[in-house]
Amino acid sequence: MNKMKELWKRVTGFSLLFPLVCLVIVLVVNLIKTPDFFKISMNNGVLYGYVIDILNRSSELIILAVGMTLVVAASGGTDISVGAVSAVAGAVCIYSLIGGASSSVYRIPYVLAIVLGILAGTACGAFNGFLVAKLHIQPMVATLILFTAGRGMAQVLTQGFILYVRKESFKFLGNFLPGVPIPTPIFIATIVVVLTFLILKKTSLGLYIQSVGVNRKASRLVGLNSSLIIFLAYVFSGFCAGIAGMIITSRVYSIDANNAGLNIELDAILAVAIGGNSLGGGKFSLAGSVIGAITIQALTTSLYAMKVTADQLPVYKAVVVIIIVALQSPIVKRWMKNIKQKLASSRNGKKVEA
């Protein structure tokens, strides 16, 4: 009995429990509504199925959520420019690759173009970081600049056209590598998550970020370079946005500066919140944000599977998100605790009577 209690305590004390439960509920509802939800089939040498689709489609979101998690933790603010920055990165990549018109000829090696694209994203992150960490501009305002100007910059490169890359190799990153049945974005997202996790684990950066996020002044006095750490978090977020931009453009082998990564920053922030992270900064869980990102995509995909149309989707999504976020609020948690206590005491009362 005691062992059970201890186990229960450990399970309920596990901070990722709630995000995981949310994800599981979404999946279970799917299973009931769409019985072949978990079916995975092989077609033309690649895997198909809702689950694969969810993981594939959530890759960009996972990558952005990882960067967003660190930004939120270190600065207590959000980077709302990541969607626009990924469009900038995509535009830089494609423009340097084929120039100002759709083409099937590479001007420079493909790998170099990718590096340039990611560098562009990182530079945008550095700009944001400079504004927030050095000039102490509020994160929302600082990143609002690129949020609005970023797509304009991308437009300058593409001159308002949608540029297509008509070459098979350009599709590898966002679709499938020849002979590999699993979509490439899943690999990229996994690598980003694992590498970030290892960096945080193997250096004390994770502790530094939390410390600065909790108390910037005190952190400075114990010898941490608070500004540098916040700066780095934004640079990293820009880097992640750059990678996401590569996947987004490769998926559709084109850059549409107006629509690439549109509104994805909001999903990234949401992923961080659903993962149980405080948007006020400080303590964070990378795994939570990843689960959050998958939950959001699972929700979207399953709503599509239930034949909800694209224009109605946001309504249903909003309802579910409100429920998930409300359940995590401390007030609701306290209500639940009170109800539980009342139930327990009334049960005890009955026992005494008996």
């Binding site: 004390s204 002044k217 114990v222 010898g223 941490l224």
Partner: protein
Amino acid sequence: MMNENKPLLTMRHITKTFPGVKALSNVDFTLRAGEIHALMGENGAGKSTLIKVLTGVEEMETGEIYLEGIDHPIINRSPQEAQAIGISTVYQEINLCPNLSVAENIYIGREPKKFGRIDWKTMNKKSSELLKNLNIMIDVTKPLSNFSVAIQQMVAIARAVDISSKVLILDEPTSSLDEQEVEKLFLVMRKLKESGIGIIFVTHFLEQVYKICDRITVLRNGCLVGEYETEKLPSVELVELMIGKEIEDLAKLSKEENDEENNEKKEIVIDAKGLGHTGTIHPFDLKIHKGEVIGLSGLLGSGRSELARAIYGADKPDQGELYFKEKKLQINTPLDALKSGMAYLPENRKEEGIIEDLSVRENIIIALQARRGMFKVISRKEQEEFADKFIDLLQIKTSSRDVPVKQLSGGNQQKVILGRWLLTNPDFLILDEPTRGIDVGTKTEIQKLVLKFSEEGKTILFISSEIDEMLRVCNKIAVLRDRKKVSELKGDQLSQSNIMKAIAGGDTKDE
């Protein structure tokens, strides 16, 4: 005559547990109208918890609270509810909005209105008058953050006093006031007492208790020790009741008489030449020898903390030179100071000391980790060893090394920060008000530690508002006035009256 007064507030059998700690068990407390009642006890004795239960910040598990005029037990679920029935509080840490004006702070949530809009004129006028009653003449339209901590504290008190109250709780109100300001506060307290308000006064300053309180309730380890009339309880007995064992008399604690000449020959650890930071401290010269404990004395705002901050690089000095162990040191950030062997325990524990959401363990190792750099991670096992070592050495009361440090009482938080710095094994340790808001027992412990470090050859810069304490631990005291270092006292010159004279200087000025 006080005895005949009817109880104003009665608390019976109050019990409250926190994870792993029984904060209050079966505590009774009675407050009579028109009395000032001291609530005394060591850190973690349960004073703050009792206050929090009374004001609805925490929920009690069992127990009853009665307030005069209400014929049923009261349960406060929030400080607002407590305030509505006449229980107001001024907390140890100032809970006001620094970015709002003084007047806004006083009337926030109950602004005078005219045609549904805030009546600024009335609000400013009333605030001015209110503060005038406390002998504070300031521009109430200026942001609160423009004023010293002491003034901010007084504003908090003015606010609480103004909200009509039967019971006024003052939780460590004097810990950031200098003596004149304390006197002013006492005048106000006596006035309030005459008008029939019951005041609960939580403090660590024994002499203040004897100056102003009618009655004392002592708590220890969450239990009630007893209620006493101040007149009938000598201070030595009071301290014994609080500590629960006979402690060495504070007065007996005294430094080994350092041979002055001997000291002068020792290595110079700190040698500041014309060091200054524009706007906070005028250029000063200061020499500190190895193993010395040097005190900085002066009124609040005289520049004592600012001098220390300039040496540590918390405010980067913009004039002069600093030699550390006879080598010129260019300090741009606190990290430079830390790396060369300095440590700095800041004055404001909540804002600059603790990193509240991180665990006790993380709070202890963070400075060492910062010093080692990002890539030399202290392993989890080492971290736990370090944390346990200092929890044990400094007797930090915590249910585990992994609880967030914000769950600890103030004194224990201070010990955690002390542990953080000791772990870096500094040669030069700056302690800015290390004993503020800390009980007598811990205070003595910290003073003893300071003397021990100096014996071990560490050099210490000690800042305290209490001259007694400074005389007990310091070999040399530098006095500051109006952001200038004005004199240095050592050897036979070290006496209360000499320091007072130096602090006061030619002219005494109010804030």
